[in-house]
Amino acid sequence: MEGKGIITVVGKDKVGIIYSVTRVLAENNVNVEDISQTILQDYFTMMMMVNLSSVSCEFNKLQEILEDLGKELGLSIRIQREEIFNYMHEI
């Protein structure tokens, strides 16, 4: 699969969020290109830009794995292709 994805993690801050997410990404051969995080009104918000060019599973499988991880950690984790954000906010 070509292109880049944006992973957003939103929820209550706790130990090990970045570790858990990046572990899943490494297992599926997804390279992280950029990470930023912030605390917005007590909510932990992390955003990752990832490269999907050598991902070892189908996009929807990766999405499922991340969603399951989110449930486990009590967070919302989602992955979307990058273009939607570029298209909507840039001319």
Binding site: T45, Q63, Q80, R81, E83, I84, M88, H89
Partner: protein, 452 residues
């Protein structure tokens, strides 16, 4: 930081403000399915639709997953069946509706539009048979949508067709009376119908359109309302500015989805219809935008002005965002499909007459309005004539989709279910339109139509 803000804004628009792609509609030409033998024609129609649209739903679902934006409906529009079936010796076209229904079911789309006739200047043989077949066709099928264009700024208003469609709507209501006359929710009468509309019930694949095409309809009244919450009390031009910006973003999302669907199905991208299409869900209402702009309810004096501003600003924002804007593009004001409109009818703020005034500045017309079941057909024809006149004189599309709910009267509520919603029955004029409608003939095209 800016990027983060943008990402979060998009996610918020989708999650909390119900931004979605309302429909991806594949238009398919059936011109090469014409056959003197109706049986053969129908086989060709079925084969062609199922071949072209085989992967429509699958690709739609894929894109929904990858971009994280819901695509609510996947649909099909076809060449008006009156043109296709007219070549056959059939004297009834219900079998064509059945085959469309079967093909729609096979490929998994929820509606297929194009059981249609274009009669703005008069009836051809196929048109007459098709129109006569509408009530039966809509009562026997589940997913077929029907439309009739009976007026245009160039041709005037076909009053014979206006008279007939009043009767056809009544017949359809009677045949589907067990389900609150739901057949009428799948039937729309147009003036100045467009060839590339992706929205039902009025979608058909116009004769000037290519072999197949992907048209996309976006939505997002909730997003517009939320954007306006930030400019409370500010001068009205700020409202317009804000709607434009929001419409831009929504349209860009639609453009991206349209391009992707088109690329993956190898079918050209046609148009993006940037209509604000509401649903009966809370937070997805056009009527609530009026309230945000400062009106007590949809229907208060000032609503027409607010709608005119909304419709115009949506177009301006959208035009900048996509180079292929088409279809109806504006604000839809269906009653049963909009939670805020339903509530405005319930509390007496919104009347039939106010709705008619609003249609002179919205993008379509009298839409999804439940009226008493005993409304005479000539009164319904009178509504159609009024609406057609608004469209013809103002060079815009107008439509009528009213439901004379059998067995129900003012004070009752009609339940259509799903996206079609529910609606309190609205009172209509008790005075007769019969002698006017029964004159028949054609209202000539207006003077400003002679532009050549």
């Amino acid at each position: 930081m800016k990027r983060q803000k943008n990402v979060l804004e998009t996610i918020h628009m989708i999650d909390k403000e119900k931004l979605d792609i309302r429909t991806i509609t594949m238009g398919i030409s059936l011109m090469d399915c014409i056959d003197g033998d109706g049986e053969k024609a129908r086989q060709k129609i079925y084969d062609k639709i199922t071949r072209y649209a085989e992967n429509l739903v699958k690709v739609g679902n894929q894109i929904e997953t990858e971009y994280g934006i819901p695509i609510i409906n996947k649909r099909i529009s076809v060449t008006p069946i009156s043109l296709i079936a007219g070549a056959s010796s059939d004297t009834d076209y219900v079998a064509y509706a059945r085959i469309l229904d079967k093909a729609a079911r096979e490929v998994g789309v929820n509606f297929i539009g194009g059981f249609s006739a274009l009669v703005q200047k008069g009836f051809a043989k196929g048109d007459r048979i098709l129109i006569d077949s509408i009530p039966q066709a809509l009562s026997e099928t589940e997913r077929v949508c029907s439309s009739v264009n009976l007026a245009s700024s160039k041709a005037g208003i076909n009053l014979d067709a206006v008279a007939q469609m009043g009767k056809i709507i009544k017949e359809t209501a009677v045949l589907t009376k067990d389900n609150d006359s739901i057949g009428c929710a799948k039937l729309v009468v147009f003036a100045n119908a467009v060839d590339d509309n992706p929205f039902m019930a009025g979608a058909f694949h116009g004769v000037g359109e290519p072999e197949a095409v992907i048209n996309v309809g976006v939505s997002g009244p909730g997003t517009v309302k939320r954007a306006l919450e930030k400019v409370k009390g500010q001068p009205i031009q700020e409202v317009s500015e804000n709607i434009k910006k929001t419409a831009f973003k929504i349209t860009r999302a639609g453009q991206l989805v349209g391009n992707e669907v088109s690329r993956r199905l190898d079918v050209p991208f046609g148009i993006l219809d940037l209509s604000l299409a509401p649903t009966p869900e809370v937070g997805d209402s056009v009527a609530r935008i009026f309230e945000e702009i400062g009106l007590g309810a949809a229907g208060a004096h000032g609503t027409t002005a607010a709608l005119a501003l909304l419709n115009d600003a949506v177009k301006k924002g959208g035009i900048m965002a996509s180079s292929s804007v088409g279809g109806l593009s504006g604000a839809f004001i269906p009653v049963s499909e909009d939670e805020g409109m339903i509530s405005a009818v319930q509390n007496g703020a919104l009347t039939f007459d106010k709705l008619e005034a609003m249609t002179s500045v919205c993008s379509v017309g009298l839409d999804m309005i439940a009226i008493p079941g005993d409304t005479p057909d000539t009164t319904i024809s009178g509504m159609i004539a009024d609406e057609a006149a608004i469209g013809v004189i103002n060079n815009k599309t107008t439509a009528v989709r009213v439901i004379p709910v059998q067995g129900k009267d003012v004070g009752d509520t009609a339940e259509f279910g799903g996206l079609l919603g529910y609606a309190p029955i609205l009172p209509v004029s008790k005075f007769s339109s019969a002698d006017f409608i029964n004159r028949g003939g054609r209202i000539p095209a207006p003077i400003h139509s002679f532009k050549n």
